[in-house]
């Protein structure tokens, strides 16, 4: 066969007659898949994708939400990282709350869950008693705590002073303000208690019986039977706790505002973080920058910082299973 001759395809290697049909089938499958996915896709695009893109876009803009945005390059980023003294305290407070509050909430939630599952009589009462505070609206709960812990007139300090115990300044003392917020969150531990109770009641009884036959004590039973069974739930509690605490806003704002004694009303600019910025969290700073100071660009930078940290921590927790489970390959 000469090189210039056009080669003819042998009949054995016939063209693929089913290709268009296959393509149609595949396209149909893709459309079906997309159809089923579309509610999520629309939701994701509108409520996550677009806001994230907008946040990145405005972080490079000067924008006061009234005039047209103007490109300012890295000015907002430089301002946040080098010229905003409140960024450091806000980030520190947020991370402090993430570490301390999440850890204590998991420990307390699990502890109360264990206690309630062990109670033989009056289970309903104790479940209700521990769960009820969780139903209190966060603002109302915070108002009540600030009243109870008022260093000058609060009943808690009056009792402590009557007993001769030095009374802390609670929400009015920079050293005690964050621990007071942790106490407030532990008071409303009902949500985690319920989750842990469900997990604990799910542990097969036979395993406990077998462990007892092997002579395991209470600690050994918890260590080798209970804990391995509930680690996925603990991981869930840790991850959701971290994400929620990264967005900690309402209780800190209300507690700081009330404890500072500022009269709330028109004309009052509420500065978050009382006392001494000890309760200032990144979300409060985002609000303050974006909506009080018309500084949308810097607020977007802060939001992105928070997003990146939350993503990084969550990814790390999921990959390493928070040290609770062996990491998957």
């Amino acid at each position: 066969m000469s090189l210039v001759e056009s080669p003819e395809r042998p009949a054995a290697t016939a063209p693929r007659p089913k290709a268009p049909a296959l393509r149609r089938k595949h396209r149909g499958q893709r459309l079906r898949t997309l159809g089923f996915l579309s509610p999520w896709l629309v939701g994701f695009s509108v409520f996550f994708g677009y806001p994230l893109l907008a946040t990145v876009y405005f972080s490079f803009m000067h924008y006061n939400q009234i005039q047209q945005p103007s490109f300012v390059g890295l000015r907002n980023w430089k301002y946040v990282f080098t010229q905003m003294p409140l960024f450091g305290p806000a980030l520190w407070n947020t991370l402090w709350l993430v570490v301390v509050m999440v850890a204590l909430r998991v420990v307390f939630g699990l502890g109360i869950g264990l206690l309630v599952t062990k109670i033989k009589s009056g289970v309903g009462f104790f479940r209700t008693a521990f769960y009820l505070p969780y139903l209190a609206p966060p603002v109302a709960a915070t108002v009540a705590f600030v009243f109870l812990l008022n260093p000058g007139t609060g009943p808690v300090n009056e009792i402590l002073e009557a007993l001769g115990i030095p009374a802390p300044g609670w929400f009015n003392d920079a050293a005690w303000a964050k621990p007071s917020l942790v106490m407030l969150s532990l008071w409303g531990i009902g949500d985690l208690m319920v989750i842990f109770m469900a997990a604990l009641l799910d542990v097969p009884k036979e395993q406990y019986e077998a462990a007892e036959l092997d002579g395991a004590g209470a600690w050994a039973r918890f260590r080798y039977v209970t804990w391995p069974s509930i680690t996925p739930i603990v991981l869930f509690a840790v991850v959701t706790g971290v994400v929620q605490t990264m967005q900690y806003y309402t209780q800190a704002l209300v507690a700081g505002k009330l404890a500072s004694g500022v009269t709330i009303g028109p004309g009052t600019v509420i500065q978050p973080g009382y006392p001494d910025h000890s309760t200032l969290t990144v979300p409060q700073l985002v609000y303050s920058l974006g909506f009080q100071n018309f500084n949308t660009g810097a607020a977007c930078v802060l939001s992105l910082v928070l997003f990146v940290i939350a993503m990084a921590v969550t990814t790390l927790l999921m990959r390493k299973r928070a040290g609770l489970l062996p990491a998957e390959d």
């Binding site: 009303g265 009052t268 100071n293």
Partner: protein
């Protein structure tokens, strides 16, 4: 090839997103082409919430509607600045046409951002000569860099309320006029219980008490916050250190910061009968002119009087001065009825009879030359003190800034640390504060 296609798709997506985003950043546009003689309904948002105050506003609106039968006004009360800001950003049919703010702090922000429209063209159209109507101080705090985007809707002056019975008991004949008299009297008036805890403070100087924001007491020194170039100069101005030192001395004369701060937490709400002055936990108290009306309505169980706040010893000739602020009114940038809205703003801020009646009704200081000298103005001597403070040429308001009250907040934060003794090097602290204020201002430049 697939990689190239992906790049093209990604570029197209990013370009599209950019277009969408910049489109979404388009603010809604108002109009000043409307005919104010045509029937229209205006929306007016304000911050007053007390029933008597709301009634006074509604009565004012009724008088306006009588004068302008074609204009109906729907009022919304108890609105905060943040709510107004959000409404003006979002726009839409429910956004207000006429807006007001209880603080002058944010005027610079409203003018520089264009959120409130420039009123000068409207004044020119209707023949209002602002310099002849309003005192200069009031015009200064309602404008920014030549843009008059607000007008004063009554003013607030800050002075001293004192418990005459406590003064008599302590053998003090008149309210203090200088800072050294102030410290001496505060110490004399302070009473303690057997256990050492406070029964009464002479004067609670701590900055977190109710209206004790540092900028208000600092006005007695006549500070200059910014130089001619707009740079912060608190570190350069020796009066800043004098003021902070005096405030510390006032605290030390009565037991120190920590003890007073603990006592402060026992005070009731500012607007309640349990407030510090009303419950006689403080013998002297800095406040605005509205406190007098509250003391009367609350039937205070003691004899009280008013006076200007003391001044530094080396500025004794300025006695009578005080801190000025007030409510401001303006027109929303996205209002479609700006000429009709101007008619309402003009009536509320310029009409002498209206200003006097409204001032008498809510016990605020009038904000026009004519109203300040009106014979119909409330003749109560305790109120007159504040009228005199407002008229005093040495009285001061906060200078407007491009980002509103951000520099005041920065100063407050610094003052909180300074009063608590957490600023070891005051000079360095003030220099850092100036640098911070300048950086914040630069960040707000478009």
């Amino acid at each position: 090839m697939p990689r190239l296609r992906m790049r093209i798709c990604l570029s197209a997506a990013l370009a599209g997103a950019g277009l969408i985003l910049s489109g979404c950043a388009n603010p809604s546009v108002g109009s000043d082409r409307d005919d104010p003689t045509q029937p229209v309904t205006l929306k007016f948002w304000h911050g007053w919430s007390n029933p008597a105050e709301v009634k006074a506003v509604d009565d004012s609106i009724a008088r306006f509607e009588k004068l302008h039968p074609n204009i109906k006004v729907k009022t919304v009360n108890n609105v905060t600045d943040e709510t107004v800001n959000q409404a003006l950003r979002a726009g839409g049919d429910d956004a207000p046409d006429v807006v007001s703010s209880f603080t002058t702090n944010n005027v610079g922000q409203y003018c520089s951002s264009g959120m409130w429209v420039d009123l000068d063209p409207f004044m020119k159209k209707t023949g209002v000569e602002k310099a002849k109507v309003f005192p200069k101080t009031f015009l200064d705090y309602t404008s920014y860099q030549g843009k008059q985007c607000a007008l004063p809707l009554l003013a607030d002056a800050y002075g001293l309320y004192y418990n005459k019975d406590a003064f008599k008991e302590a053998g003090i004949e008149r309210p203090p006029r200088t800072m050294s008299e102030f410290k001496r009297d505060a110490a004399k008036l302070t009473k303690r219980k057997a256990g050492g805890s406070y029964e009464r403070a002479g004067f609670m100087p701590n900055f977190r008490l109710y209206q004790n924001s540092p900028d208000r007491l600092f006005a007695q020194w006549g500070p200059t916050y910014f130089d001619k170039k707009g740079k912060a100069q608190l570190a350069k101005d020796p009066r800043t250190r004098q003021f902070l030192a005096t405030q510390r001395e006032l605290m030390d004369a009565q037991g120190g910061y920590a003890a007073l701060e603990k006592f402060r937490t026992t005070f009731g709400d500012e607007m309640s009968p349990q407030s510090s002055f009303m419950s006689q936990k403080a013998a002297m108290h800095m406040d605005g002119e509205w406190r007098g009306l509250m003391l009367k309505e609350g039937k205070a169980k003691f004899d009280w009087g008013t006076a200007p706040l003391p001044v530094p010893d080396d500025q004794a000739d300025t006695y009578g001065r005080g801190y000025l602020t007030g409510t401001v009114a303006g027109i929303a940038h996205n209002s479609k009825h700006q000429n009709a809205a101007w008619e309402l703003v003009r009536f509320l801020t310029v009409d002498t009879d209206q200003v006097v009646r409204f001032a008498n009704a809510i016990h605020n200081v009038p904000s026009t030359f004519a109203a300040l000298t009106s014979p119909k103005l409330d003749a109560d001597p305790s109120f007159r003190t504040f009228i005199d403070i407002a008229r005093n040429p040495h009285s001061q308001a906060m200078p407007p800034s491009i980002n509103g009250g951000q520099y005041i907040t920065a100063f407050q934060d610094f003052a909180y640390n300074a009063e608590a003794g957490k600023v070891p090097d005051l000079g360095k602290g003030l220099r850092d504060l100036d640098a911070q204020i300048d950086a914040d201002n630069l960040q707000s430049v478009n």
